[in-house]
């Protein structure tokens, strides 16, 4: 056969093998370490850390869809909002226990995703994109209409969150909130990594890259996609719940188009398809936003606009590869 010039990534006993999957605890531990470092360096910015963590969870949910399954969506806010309002209403009417609230939000997000996915996933491309927007907008209109339940423009705030496990109460400095948000994110990252590493996760990647091939292997494509959509919905819902529980209020912007668009931007900035990009993107975006917006909201739009265009024209992954290749060539030349 043709002689191979490719350097294989791992050789064991003469046969090259595909690179092993990353261990599931690595990314959560790195994230926790980064969060601790951030808390140490900026002890009065704990609220910001909470925000980054809960947003990263939302972007993670989007990565499962966009990065892994290849489903472009601008309606993720529907799932986020379902979890946020779900947790808020649950605390208002049933119980203020935050952990049970997370479960409720996960179920709400997953159920909405599964139900809408069964319909939406019959479509592809631009049509699908538009339908996801429509779904989120419909939910937004409903939430606005039923303002008796949701609080409408004023938001839902008439609920109290009990201490976590009865021990740790959400304090004003935000310390408990930050730990809570980071812990939930870490668990989410662990679960997402397990799924991504599994045969199911591999089949999702296969569906992304070649639906025809997977169907020819006997894959029930639509069912698998609905499953990953439901998982994404659960994570997005939990993200909404964390936000609601820490802030004590749920606003209509939880269901807004801007949130869907922003989370997509964050995912692309950090890199889709490898889960860590969600954390990176959410951090970079939120920090940029925090700095730039405090000067002038329009400044922020300048910065993020240019950043987006730059990322598309000069993708960081390709750039990094080019730099890497050049370094390797230099090393070969000098040896």
């Amino acid at each position: 056969m043709t002689t191979h010039t490719e350097a294989s990534t791992a050789v064991a006993g003469g046969t090259p093998r595909a690179t092993a999957m990353p261990p599931p605890w690595r990314l959560p531990l790195l994230t926790i370490a980064a969060a601790l470092l951030a808390a140490f360096m900026w002890p009065d910015q704990l609220g910001l850390i909470s925000r980054v963590a809960s947003t990263a969870l939302l972007v993670l949910s989007l990565d499962l869809l966009v990065g892994y399954a290849g489903i472009a969506t601008l309606g993720q806010s529907a799932l986020f909002g379902a979890g946020a309002y779900g947790a808020g209403l649950f605390a208002q009417h049933v119980s203020g226990d935050p952990l049970i609230g997370l479960v409720v939000a996960a179920v709400a997000g997953a159920a909405l995703a599964a139900a809408s996915g069964a319909f939406l996933l019959r479509f592809e491309g631009f049509t699908l994109l538009m339908l996801t927007i429509a779904l989120a907008q419909i939910l937004l209109s409903l939430a606005s209409t039923f303002r008796g339940i949701t609080g409408g423009d004023d938001g839902l705030s008439d609920f109290t969150i009990r201490p976590i496990l009865g021990l740790w109460e959400f304090d004003l400095e935000g310390r408990v909130g930050a730990i809570y948000a980071v812990a939930v994110l870490a668990v989410g990252l662990y679960l997402a990594r397990r799924v991504a590493n599994s045969p199911f996760g591999l089949s999702i990647r296969g569906i992304h890259e070649s639906r025809a091939r997977m169907a020819a292997l006997g894959t029930p494509v639509r069912k698998r996609l609905i499953a990953i959509y439901a998982m994404s919905g659960a994570l997005a819902g939990v993200s909404g719940a964390v936000t609601a529980q820490i802030n004590g209020i749920v606003g209509l912007d939880s269901l807004g188009f801007a949130l869907s668009a922003e989370s997509l931007v964050m995912l692309v900035l950090g890199g889709a398809g490898n889960l860590s990009g969600a954390v990176v993107g959410a951090s970079v975006f939120t920090l940029l936003h925090h700095t730039a917006a405090s000067i002038d909201p329009y400044h922020w739009l300048f910065v993020i606009g240019v950043a987006l265009m730059a990322v598309v024209l000069f993708p960081p992954a390709a750039l990094a590869q080019q730099i890497w290749a050049r370094l390797r060539a230099q090393r070969k030349a000098s040896s």
Partner: protein, 246 residues
């Protein structure tokens, strides 16, 4: 009845176009049926109907006695029907080993497993590597399929079909576009296919056809005009007329 695959008056129209005209064929385990015909005869369309990608306008398809006409593609695969594609459809960024492992996971009904890592399924990995080795692709296991040479990609397609352990295998022009140098390995692989596997090959390469086929069916404008042993087909005047100097 020991037909493993039976097509019963399969018919398909596209608006005014009549692309499959009451095709009836049957395959027994171990049959090597070559489907030949001029370009545009409707061979791939026929395969698409058999595999479940395209629904027929009328007619039925029986797999081992069961009527699968209404069943989706995934179901037919599970019942032992596999195919390769004329244009390679491999997932370009997946390493070859992973692509083959996917086929094995589907076969073993493990693809719903969400907790254990793919690397923990050692027997699957071993089988995948063994399969690749048997096709001379062992050294490419870590390469993304998109970076393989064209001939290697066709071999991976074959590997995937074999991984499913089918009872009926539909090969859509396996030699198309394969450079001369890689031909022998593909041919050797085809020779080593299990003896009880029923094979339907679409091919233009007449050397391969006469070397492998136990039967030949000739498809012209959607209709089977001749179906018999290679010797009979070679001498059939209708075939000669339809094929004007193939």
């Amino acid at each position: 009845m020991n037909d493993i695959l039976r097509l019963d008056e399969l018919d398909r129209r596209f608006g005014g176009l009549h692309v499959t005209r009451k095709v009836s064929l049957s395959l027994r385990p171990g049959d090597r049926l070559a489907l030949i015909g001029p370009n545009g005869a409707g061979k791939t369309t026929l395969v698409n109907q058999i595999s479940g990608v395209l629904p027929p306008s009328s007619g039925r398809i029986f797999l081992d006695g069961t009527d699968v006409t209404a069943l989706p593609q995934a179901e037919r695969v599970r019942r032992g029907l596999a195919r390769t594609f004329q244009i390679t459809t491999l997932a370009p960024h997946l390493p070859v080993q992973r692509q083959v492992e996917l086929a094995l996971f589907e076969r073993e009904q493990l693809a719903n497993s969400m907790w254990r890592s793919v690397d923990a399924h050692v027997s699957v990995r071993e089988e995948a590597l063994k399969l690749l080795d048997s096709l001379g692709l062992g050294h490419r296991a870590a390469t993304p399929t998109g970076r393989l040479a064209y001939g290697e990609q066709r071999l991976v397609e074959l590997a995937l079909a074999l991984a499913l352990r089918p009872r009926v295998l539909l090969l859509d022009e396996p030699m198309a576009g394969v450079p001369k140098a890689d031909g022998p390995i593909l041919l050797a692989a085809l020779d080593r296919l299990p003896a009880d596997l029923a094979l339907l090959i679409i091919e233009h390469d007449m050397d391969l056809v006469f070397r492998m086929a136990t039967r030949i069916a000739v498809l012209v404008q959607g209709e089977v005009i001749a179906d018999g042993t290679p010797a009979a087909i070679r001498d059939d005047p209708r075939v000669k007329a339809a094929y004007l100097g193939h």
